[in-house]
């Protein structure tokens, strides 16, 4: 006909493999096996879907020979990886939060087979939250409950506007539920008002050229009027005024590393206890009383917390206090709490770990059965104590994220990396096996931050010869079994 017909397809309801919000309404336009357009997604989503095939990728497995990474066949790389793992006295298998549950399932079998320590990235984000859940429990729900019912939304130590961009719009304050309306309009009015205010201020500044501003306003001993409006209210509590704090009806600034004190004070207040001090964590107790009152009076409250809370001083005990606060609030009203999970499938990794071993992360198979004691069996601690002998890293970049000493021990020993990216860790590795992008080039399952399982789609083919994590792990496992049988025969 004189022209090549362009092959264009639209795939709807794609799950986005970026953050724990796991938005599943992404619409992709595929043209000649490439994603050319992303609809409904946030900026992070767009860049993930659009850049996967433009970025520089290693397409062949690599093995370090004489200090240099050289291309080898997949069989050779798999064999080398299996040898390293089968021989190791105390190997670690780390990552799992950015791959599918199906891959993690095989990973656990491999860890058991080689008697290793298997851990997921929860160890460096919401691990402390899990430890506290094990002490206190958790009053939670799926995100839809919040959309339908919550009239008080609190984000604590979390900045969804930047880290989970569609969270507020899809699930919380700006979403439209059966029993609760979106607070989006109020926000628009607020933004307009604030723009107008800024304009007036700047006009005034121009008129009264360089006049010093008058005395700074005294902190008011009452909450802004927005807190007494009908409908949904949004509170942000953080150490700094984030983007999310700006759109909130009320922002409470907490002194750094004083979250625990603040949470405990709330707990005492909702039990109608008197507090000896006038101020907690930089906030006057009068304010706290009003906010505590709001919490008690709401119909359905939700507290989201992020790593700002889990990683500030007190760590797991901050979460312990937050979980206890929400539990106690249920004596007075309905209140729930949820960690803002970062990686798109860290919840899934925890889930698969738990059903196979009973424990959500930091599982040590060295004695032939699952043992769990974060601090002892967590990969970061194992590395810091210099105890591991070899490592397998799947879809994670610990060299870039771990404490320096831990990363040093990691690269000192044989290191295998399975990853679509040529990460910093991969560059230091002894065996690199490139894999397909889960959720783009490979299908599977991921769990949203509220434990709702969602299918990950394969929308385009991976580059030729590049396999999904699951398949690579299966091959390594089968190779390890072969080696072990051989070792047994030789020993006999």
């Amino acid at each position: 006909m004189g022209y090549v017909k362009r092959k264009m397809t639209i795939v709807k309801a794609v799950t986005c493999p970026v953050c724990g919000s796991l938005c599943d309404d992404i619409e992709l336009t595929i043209e000649n096996g490439r994603i050319v357009k992303v609809k409904n997604g946030c900026a992070m989503c767009e860049s993930k879907f659009l850049s996967h095939n433009s970025e520089h990728r290693v397409l062949k497995p690599l093995i370090r020979k004489n200090g240099k990474l050289v291309e080898v066949s997949l069989e050779e790389a798999v064999k080398r990886a299996a040898e390293i793992l089968a021989e190791a006295n105390y190997p670690i298998l780390y990552g799992w939060s950015s791959t599918s549950c199906e891959a993690t399932r095989v990973g656990l079998e491999l860890a058991e087979e080689v008697g290793g320590v298997i851990d997921n990235t929860a160890v460096v984000c919401h691990g402390p939250s899990i430890l506290s859940i094990q002490d206190i429990g958790i009053s939670s729900c799926t995100l839809g409950q919040i959309r339908h019912r919550a009239d008080l939304v609190v984000y604590w130590g979390s900045n969804p506007w930047s880290a989970h961009p569609r969270h507020i719009e899809r699930y919380t304050a700006f979403s439209e539920g059966r029993f609760q309306r979106s607070a989006w309009k109020g926000y628009l009015t607020k933004i307009k008002a604030s723009i107008a205010k800024k304009k007036i201020e700047s006009a005034l500044r121009r008129v009264f050229f360089r006049r010093k501003p008058s005395v700074p306003p005294q902190p008011r001993m009452e909450l802004p009027p927005a807190m007494f409006k009908e409908g949904r209210k949004l509170i942000v509590i953080d150490v700094r005024k984030t983007k999310s704090a700006e759109i909130a009806d009320y922002f409470m600034q907490v002194e750094p590393n004083k979250d625990y004190e603040l949470l405990q004070a709330f707990r005492a207040l909702i039990r109608d206890q008197e507090i000896d001090v006038d101020e907690v964590a930089g906030v006057p107790v009068g304010y706290l009383e009003e906010v505590a009152d709001l919490m008690i009076r709401c119909g359905f409250g939700i507290l989201f917390f992020g790593v700002g809370l889990t990683m500030s001083k007190g760590k797991l005990r901050n979460i312990d206090a937050a979980l206890s606060l929400v539990r106690d609030l249920n004596m007075r009203t309905k209140f729930v709490i949820m960690p803002m999970r970062g990686h798109f499938n860290v919840a899934g990794a925890n889930t698969v770990f738990t059903w196979q071993t009973g424990y959500p992360y930091a599982v040590d198979f060295s004695l032939g059965y699952p043992r769990y004691n974060p601090g002892e069996t967590s990969v970061t601690d194992v590395l810091l104590r210099g105890e591991s002998e070899a490592s397998l890293i799947v879809a994670s970049d610990p060299v870039a994220n771990f404490p320096r000493k831990a990363a040093e021990h990691l690269v000192k020993n044989p290191l295998i990396v399975i990853d679509p990216h040529m990460s910093v860790t991969a560059q230091m590795a002894d065996v690199v096996i490139p894999s397909a992008f889960v959720g783009i080039e490979a299908s599977g399952t991921a769990y949203r931050m509220d434990h709702v399982p969602l299918p990950l789609k394969k929308v385009v083919d991976p580059p030729k010869g590049v396999l999904p994590d699951e398949e690579i792990l299966r091959r390594i496992l089968s190779e390890v079994r072969k080696l072990k049988r051989k070792m047994l025969v030789e020993a006999a």
Binding site: D25, H148, N330, K334, L367, Y369, V452
Partner: protein, 563 residues
Amino acid sequence: MELLIKNGFVYDPINGVNGEKMDIATRDGKIVENVNESKALKIDASGMMVMPGGVDIHCHIAGSEVNTGRLLRPEDHFRDFERKTPKTRSGVGYSVPSTFTTGYRYARMGYTTIMNPSMPPLEAKHTHEELNDTPMLDKATYPLLGDWWFVLEYLKDGKIEECARYVAWMMTTTKGYAIKIVNPGGLEAWGSGRNVSSIDDQVPYFGTTSREIIRGLCKVNKLLNLPHTIHVHTNNLGKPGNYLTALDTMKCVEDLASGDKPAIHITHCQFCAFKGSDWRTIKSGAEEIAKYVNNHSHVTLDTGQVIFTDTTTMTADGPFQYGLHELSGNKWVNHDVETETSSGIVPFRYRRKSYVHAIQWSTGLELALLVRDPWKIFMTTDHPNGGPFIYYPRIIAWFMSRKARETTLKKINPRAESRSLLPSTDRELSFYEIAIMTRAGQANALGLKDKGHLGTGADADIAVYNINPETTDPSKKYRTVRRAFENAAYTIKGGKIVAKNGEILRHVKGATMWLDVQVSEPIKITEEMKRRFREYWTVEYENYPVTENYLEVSHPTTIKADV
């Protein structure tokens, strides 16, 4: 592959076989008339009992609440673990075992089929993923439908047939097996922190009542010709005086029964058989419930027996679990699921010396003994709510031996002992009756045609117990009975020997059974439906169904509905 089990005392109640000495032959996973004796693998079962593989109608072993229970309780697992062997995977146990360990422990007791009773439809994939990793057993799972908005809305408008079509869609979409109803109306109310307190309370915002939900879904069940009845966890569970609610629940579908066919299953009945007005005055309501059940044919029950041990309670009944947390002060998990249901978890210890717990223990046994027809009541612990399933053999001993009951009675709270009906109950169940209450009756109630019996064509799921019914008096030798049921001499799954004397010989995958319900006019997935979907849930319609690739071994049963 052929197998011949020779000379055992066979208990096969569905086929009326009561301890007769005979051979059982299997070929390619099915029971057959006979096999070539010289070629078949032979098991000498002389002096042993041969029964169909055990069937458990109600045990929480997979899915989101079970897994959260596992996550919640490292202290429950860390002393009870199973090492990896060349044949088996490792795992941890006690009250909420990991998936592999669950499969092995059931297989050791001669169980081959289990039903996972509470699956939030939105999280159905999770349940199925775990069932895939639960070996040795055939399994099925019940979606929670009693508080699903679609059901509430259609029932309010009296649109039974429309409701039936949606239930059919849901059953197939979630790969479920039966309609599960938990605290109907109460769970929706719990979404806003409330509850209902009788079957006639209004569900907030929805203008319907528990009674209408139970009756409506009972009608739907009938219209769809589902093999099992509606599976009901009553309102007011775990509250003193709730035996009246349980009776109301049974009564409210009395007129919907056709012939002698059961129309409702009241699950873990012990937990809704409390008489009395508060915890101090609580008494057993077993007598009243048994009386009703003995006089009506439309009800089946399972016991929900309590074991004196530390366990983890978990149900979809969010408000009940919260109450339990307030009562015990133990850690508490709540997980409400949008548009559908809720759930809760609280670790709990049943103590012999606690009046209430001892009454509960007694009530469970009273129910089992006072309901005359063993085809109407089945043995469960509502695992892990009354206690872990590994204690089934202990319950069998209590069922079969007055002496066993008396031994425990002596150790319980004296006030509870003096109020217990057990001392005045002489009934001791026979092995035949045990076979009904632990397999045949359960399979029958579930409408599992190929399970729970040893007739030609049945699945070759067989348990051989090393106990000689001719020489053992279970009434006296109840410990021997208990030990025999703890570790089957042989467990045969699909014609293969999978466990022998407590050792797992083979790791086999079981199948997941589900219903493909075919209605004459299936619901149409229009753009309007998708929009409604988006309004109700936070996931897209396309991502909701459990596609068949989520079932590693899929066993659908096609059901022709009357709508």
